[in-house]
Amino acid sequence: MNYELSKEAINIQSVIDKVVERDAGAITTFIGTVRELTHGKKTLYLVYEAYEAMAVKKLAQIGREIEERWSGAKVAITHRVGRLDITDIAVVIAVSTPHRADAYEANRYAIERIKEIVPIWKKEHWEDGEEWIGNQKETVAYPKGQPEEKDLHE
């Protein structure tokens, strides 16, 4: 249950509790919240939608990637789905590691990977319209219809 989607408000402490370890001195969290202004445009609220079964699998894959790359790391991720208002929490990533540098790097890796491979989409609602947001990383698209090779297999 370290990787979850939640229809309810995320309790930060409960995500952190999943990674507490007697031999881990450092825990980092990333908390993504709904921002009111993006490029000067005022968001009223957001809706997150997910391909739920696959999204949970991909979150777990990211956790395994981190545990392989940063020795002793423990990871928990909860992503919200449904309607969110300004300052609501969209995602909480908690990473514990024995040493602090790793806890920052591994956590950063998790959010970047979420934005690459986890099938979750955000629809922004403004006063004058709404739009599905995509390609947040502003990279090129996937001309082969898929992410890079490393993303394909768990």
């Binding site: 391909y51 934005k115 989409w121 739009e131 599905w132 947040q136 992410p147």
Partner: protein
Amino acid sequence: MNKVMFFAHLRDAVGEEEVIVEAAGKTVAQLKVEIVETYGLQKMDTVMTAINEEFAGNKEIIQDGDVIAFIPPVSGG
């Protein structure tokens, strides 16, 4: 038979959350072409594909019973 799922703006464009098609033996690329034609979509170049909840390349061949999902650029986080 194969279930094909659509998400986000792609679902809005198609007008369906999922459809059932006969795609066994076709490649992902072939299925994409059919979908684009059937629903009058502009293109699916930025759309990833999952077969049975794992990403799949355009050349992958669909088996009977596979669940196909078309995944527009994600925007979680």
